[in-house]
Amino acid sequence: MAVQCWEALLKSSKKTALIHDGKRKIHYLFADGKEMAEEYDLTSDDLIVRKWRSKNPLGAPGQWQIEIGEPVAALASVDSEMIKENFSNPIFLRQDTKTTFQWRIRNLPYPKEVFSVSVEPSERCCVVKTSNKKYYKKFGIPDLDRCQLPLDCSVLTFTHANNTLIISYKKPKEILTLEHELLRELKKLKGTGEGDADCKTQ
């Protein structure tokens, strides 16, 4: 099954581990040139950051795409000439817990009745809508896509508090076991301590 495919891919990738700043940082380099980086909290073992980078077809390295974690504020210097979203706009980010995939959308000062969240199993994505037509977002769940697991409408819930919409999707048991295994493997990786690590990509 597809869960095994993804597991095998993870196993075959070149991994570099580093413990720094109270976080276990792992860098994966896949055979097709894609890179993935993860950061786990040392004490709670929570996944804080997961990001991806790949080369564009012409061979130029791309930017890091953040899948999980706080978006890094882009340095103003380069992009200031162009266009960027105003700080008052909703900020969308994913922040998982041990048992759920969780998304937080900040800066949404509307009452809870305005929002509707649904799952579109055919398009493999979740949709957030607002009845006042202020916010709309379609997002996929890459973890489920990678393992080719179906999306389930019944395990999605959402709450609204402090101008933040929190959407939770209960992780299926396949994912839970996979993540558990992965973490155990990662802990076995000999992480270099503080200081420069020998990174295979450079």
Partner: protein, 480 residues
């Protein structure tokens, strides 16, 4: 009472500068490749334009690699103009690289490297790439200029789709391009996030009832649906050289210290060639052979010519167009004489297009086109005088007199350039023949110490057009 002049505010649409060939918009051929006498800024040179049109078809076809064309003719007969016309006719999607023969001589780079880079700049690859675009209807656009008049402008743009609304902060460059495109509330636009390119799709249907003054070509479109930011596949053309540069850069943090690419290793090029042909077989990319134009090709030396011989044999080589104004002359870097200063073995591979000097009528026509291009009004008589000057001296000199005469005319508050203005600038600025004659005379006879007879001599010497004569006033030669 003094009036203070208010500086004009004109930062919205910048006026394009006028170059030597900016009046040329194409080759001026009809569908059957028959040249029109006057069209798209081109005048005369019918045979050469027709020949260039045939070459153009070959380039558009794209099947034949590594052909070379030489445009040969006297100075000022429109060789560069024909090349520019070809570039214009090909459009922006076909790569056209122009360089002068002397440009390749540099201390930083070997001649052959400069030539290979030029060759690869002239080869395009059309490839699909995913980019992030913002597509929405403009709700509000707000640009604040600082009160002092200088400093960065601040702007905000509110865009919406049928489902959502977002406010964006605008940078300086974005503000400029938005005002250049004259984007206003109600327009449906797309913005390429990476390049900042803005394209107007039309006006939103919800604004259709507004009694705005609108052009006939204004299109009404639906307000976009869904999310504002979308990933879209776009096809764009990059040159082989650009791919080379991307892949030859030192990876990792070392890239920070090596800004310039310098010479590109031949292994990198081979790798890229292999990759590109792989993409082509898979249907991911399409190769677009372009044009490399080398002006003043006699400035190249023997090594470059033998490199060209070799480079033209590659199947990834563009169509090469060269131009020269030399006759039988020494090949640079050897002691051999050869036609056009190009070795016979290379000449043998070339198709040669000849240009011939312009007739009086054609010169007149060209000057007229230039007058329009430079926005100078000229009276019929002045035009005739200028045409005479153009025939007697050179077309380039006559063209240069247009804008100067225009200035003289404006200074005397005239609206139309008269014969006097032409006479004035003709006396102010020497042409090449008069200047060299003057130098010769000055050297052996000290013209100014003589009396009135020298003015008569000068008249003969300077080959003045009819109606102009030279007299001496206060020890100075004056053109009347």
């Amino acid at each position: 009472m003094s009036t203070t002049k208010v500086p004009e505010v004109r930062d919205i649409t910048r006026i394009e500068r006028i170059g030597a060939h900016s009046h040329i918009r194409g080759l001026g051929l009809d569908d059957a490749l028959e040249p029109r006498q006057v069209s798209q800024g081109m005048v005369g040179q019918l045979a050469s334009r027709r020949a260039a049109g045939v070459i153009l078809e070959m380039i558009r076809d794209g099947h034949i690699a590594g052909r070379a064309v030489l445009i040969a003719g006297q100075p000022g007969t429109g060789k560069t103009a024909i090349a520019m016309g070809m570039a214009q006719a090909l459009g922006t999607d076909t790569p056209f690289t122009a360089l002068a023969g002397s440009e390749i001589f540099s201390l930083e780079m070997s001649k052959t490297e400069a030539l290979s880079q030029a060759f690869r700049k002239a080869m395009g690859v059309r490839i699909k790439e995913e980019t992030e675009i913002i597509e929405g209807e403009v709700v509000e656009i707000q640009i604040d200029r600082p009160a002092t008049g200088t400093g960065a402008k601040v702007g905000k743009l509110t865009l919406k789709t049928t489902e959502m609304e977002t406010i964006y902060d605008l940078g300086n460059k974005m503000i400029e391009s938005l005002s250049k495109e004259k984007v206003q509330a109600g327009d449906v636009i797309t913005i390429d996030k990476a390049t900042g390119k803005i394209s107007k799709l039309g006006r939103s249907f919800t604004r259709a009832r507004d009694y705005d003054a609108m052009g006939a070509q204004t299109q009404f479109v639906q307000c976009p649906e869904g999310e504002l930011q979308k990933r879209k596949e776009v096809v764009h053309t990059v040159s082989l050289h650009e791919i080379d540069v991307i892949n030859s850069r030192t990876q990792g943090f070392l890239a920070l210290f090596s800004g310039d690419t310098g010479e590109i290793k031949s292994e990198v090029r081979e790798q890229i060639n292999a990759k590109v042909s792989e993409w082509r077989e898979e249907g991911k990319a399409e190769i677009i052979p372009g044009v490399l134009f080398i002006d003043e090709v006699h400035m190249l030396d023997m090594e470059c010519f033998s490199f060209l011989n070799r480079a033209l044999e590659s199947d990834l080589s563009p169509v090469l167009i060269m131009a020269t104004n030399r006759g039988i002359t020494r090949i640079r870097g050897t002691n051999y004489q050869s036609p056009h200063g190009i070795p016979i073995d290379l000449l043998d591979r070339l198709l040669i297009i000849a240009t011939s000097p312009y007739s009086e009528k054609e010169t007149r026509q060209i000057l007229k086109i230039r007058c329009e291009e430079e926005d100078v009004e000229m009276s019929e008589e002045a035009h005739t005088v200028l045409t005479r000057i153009g025939m007697e001296t050179s077309l380039r000199y006559a063209i240069q007199l247009i804008s100067t005469a225009g200035l003289v005319c404006r200074k005397r508050r005239g609206t139309e350039v008269q014969v006097e203005d032409i006479k004035r600038v003709y006396s102010l600025f020497l042409d090449e023949a008069r200047s060299s004659q003057y130098m010769k005379e000055y050297q052996d006879s000290f013209l100014f110490n003589e009396t009135r007879e020298s003015a008569v001599d000068a008249h003969k010497l300077f080959k003045l057009p009819d109606g102009l004569r030279i007299e001496i006033h206060n020890d100075r030669l004056v053109l009347i």
